[in-house]
Amino acid sequence: MLQLFKFKGGVKPETHKAPSLQAPIAKAPLPEQLIVPLHQSIGGVPQPLVEVGQHVLKGQRIGAADQWVSAAVHAPTSGTVIAVEPRLAAHPSGLTTASVVIAPDGREEWIDRQPVDYHTLAPERLREHLRDAGVVGLGGAVFPSHAKLSAAKSVPMEELVINGAECEPFMTCDDLLMRERAEEIVRGITVFRDLLEPRKVLIGIEDNKPEALQSMREAVARLGVDFTVTAVPTRYPAGGAKQLIRVLTGKEVPASRRSPEMGVQCFNVATAYTAWRALAFGEPVISRIVTLTGNVETPRNWETLLGTPLGEFIRLGAPKPDTDRYLMGGPMMGFEMPGLEAPLVKASNCIIAGSPALFPPPAPEMPCIRCGACAEACPHELQPFELYWFSRARNFGKTQEYNLFDCIECGCCSYVCPSHIPLVQYFRFAKSEIWARERDKNQADAAKSRFEFRNERDEREKAEKAERLARAAAAKATEKPAAEKPAATVPAEETPPANAPVDADAAKKAAIAAAMERARLQREAAQVKNTDNLSTEQREEIARIDARRARAPAHQAVEQTDVAPPPAQEQ
């Protein structure tokens, strides 16, 4: 028997899981339209690979990962691309995000699926394969999985933790997946194990899911692998990656470190499942299991195509008339979907129909009385009331002193707060303000260095010009005697007193030099300035602008050059 550890804090809200566990997973029907956001994972925004009007096949890559931490997206079904444009995102902000809209043709025509034997692939190829199949963490964090599949160089990988805890109330998608498809999950875990080579593989499942535990144990036994399937005590947020790692291994991963540095890595069961599907069947991630529950007539888990609009999805569960909102994710950490047009994405593990009866409106926020209930509930042992005090006063420096960034936003503190303070909201606010400040600061630093560079260049140019003027003057002076001799008889003003000629000459020379300078600049100016030190994106932007300008009516520019003042006039 594995020795289990405890994490401090946590809460035990009512689980509400039973309703959606009554029926097995069902396949959701094909929606009328699929809206596939290109950016569905942490990391870089994939570039679109398709154009409007193009016909795509089911599983065809429509967005390519643009850097290492990024994952591809695929067409969930065959059909025609009818738009590539910003659409409402499944995000609390209500903002839009670049999406590919596909009108399905109903034929569900697959691309040529190529199963691969992962043993024959080099680890690097295997990771690329997973990236291009769009495998990301399906627990909700959607971090590209391939980027987590390398052990730290200096620390041997000791434990691979597989997260089947599913601690959020209402949510049952992992539970049913483990009950029904345990074998494929275990096979997926084998892939992860072979890549990471840990000493132990620990599968943690909350003890309120006996069927899932049973099914996973059987699958492990059937496949003859030495994975340990362990029941962990049911307590929110036992399914948080850091909490589960703590419970199973006793290791605590702080915000400042990555888990491989401590010899441990954690994946969700659904991630292992999709990884296996991607390798053994050549199927990229185009669907996921989504729990539809809450205030609906028929709560159930649906295998749903990514990109299905929320409005079409909820019809499957027949929401009751008093439903006033839809939450994506669990009731502890989820958010309210901004509209029925927003699509389901890789992170959509659960949709909860809410009603005023189910989720009563929040009680008015009272002042904090520092009772410390939040500190007791915080699984990261923070002092939420101190964080709140300083977040509220916008004293962000202090919030960081109190380890704001170790907060995992699990919501335990808000849940227990007798003053009904939306603590997590304050922390998110403080975090995004700090991030914004960081961005501003970086921009300011860049601007400063560019400004200084420009000043330096100005100085240099000025110095160079002065030097040129001086040289020109010297050259003139040597020429002068020859030029002056024939003019010796002209009136006196041509030969002014001793030191005056220098001034007059200098002025004349300067005028000439300036004219030459103008001419030189005119010549030079045909060359584009300021193009060194540009990043790739900036070059791309310039390229795009050039292309646009090429299309712009050429005569306009020509006409208007007449009005132009002399170029490069300095002083």
């Binding site: 300035k529 300021n530 132009a564």
Partner: protein, 180 residues
């Protein structure tokens, strides 16, 4: 009376000597404060404070010659930070606070005069004489210095909108009054 004068004079001499010695021994140069102040300023180099760039303004603040509330891009928050650093009282910003902006050149109107290129303090405008110019948006600080020099008024300032990447969680405001 004489002793009194003598003793006071003696004291003055001794203390004066000690101070004179100290002033040589503990001589300080430069002012590291300027850097700290400059780090707070937004580096738009816009000159709206009346100084030619952020550094001169920082120097003026450090020397006590300028108020801390003269930087509109830094906003009221910048004032608060400066007040915090310098232990001064927070004063209201001496200008209107504006949202962050970006300069946009209307490429159909641009005549390629390069005046804006010369005006840009951070080299964020690219282009050549008699050819259209454009703003590299990632580098633009929104200082508006390029707007005035343009002879054909083809540069406008646009407020930068939010994207999913720059979106911020809002300050939680609950209408306690309405709720009660």
């Amino acid at each position: 009376m004489l002793t009194a004068i003598l003793i006071m004079a003696l004291g003055a001499v001794v203390l004066g000597a000690a101070l004179g010695f100290a002033s040589i021994k503990f001589k300080t140069e430069g002012n590291p404060l300027v850097e700290k102040i400059e780090a707070i300023l937004p580096q738009t180099q816009c000159g709206q404070c009346g100084f030619a760039g952020c550094k001169p303004y920082a120097e003026a603040i450090a020397a006590g010659e300028a108020d801390i509330n003269r930087c509109p891009p830094g906003g009221q928050e910048g004032v608060a930070k400066l007040a915090d650093l310098l232990g001064r009282e927070i004063t209201p910003l001496d200008a209107e606070e504006k949202p962050k902006q970006l300069a946009i050149i209307d490429e159909h109107t641009c005549i390629g005069c390069t005046l804006c290129i010369q005006a840009c303090p951070v080299d964020a405008i690219v282009g050549a004489a008699k050819q259209m110019h454009t703003v590299v948006s990632a580098l633009c600080t929104g200082c508006e210095l390029c707007v005035k020099p343009c002879p054909v008024e083809c540069i406008r300032m646009e407020v930068i909108g939010e994207s999913l990447e720059t979106w911020k969680w809002r300050y939680p405001i609950f209408e306690i009054k309405r709720a009660s």
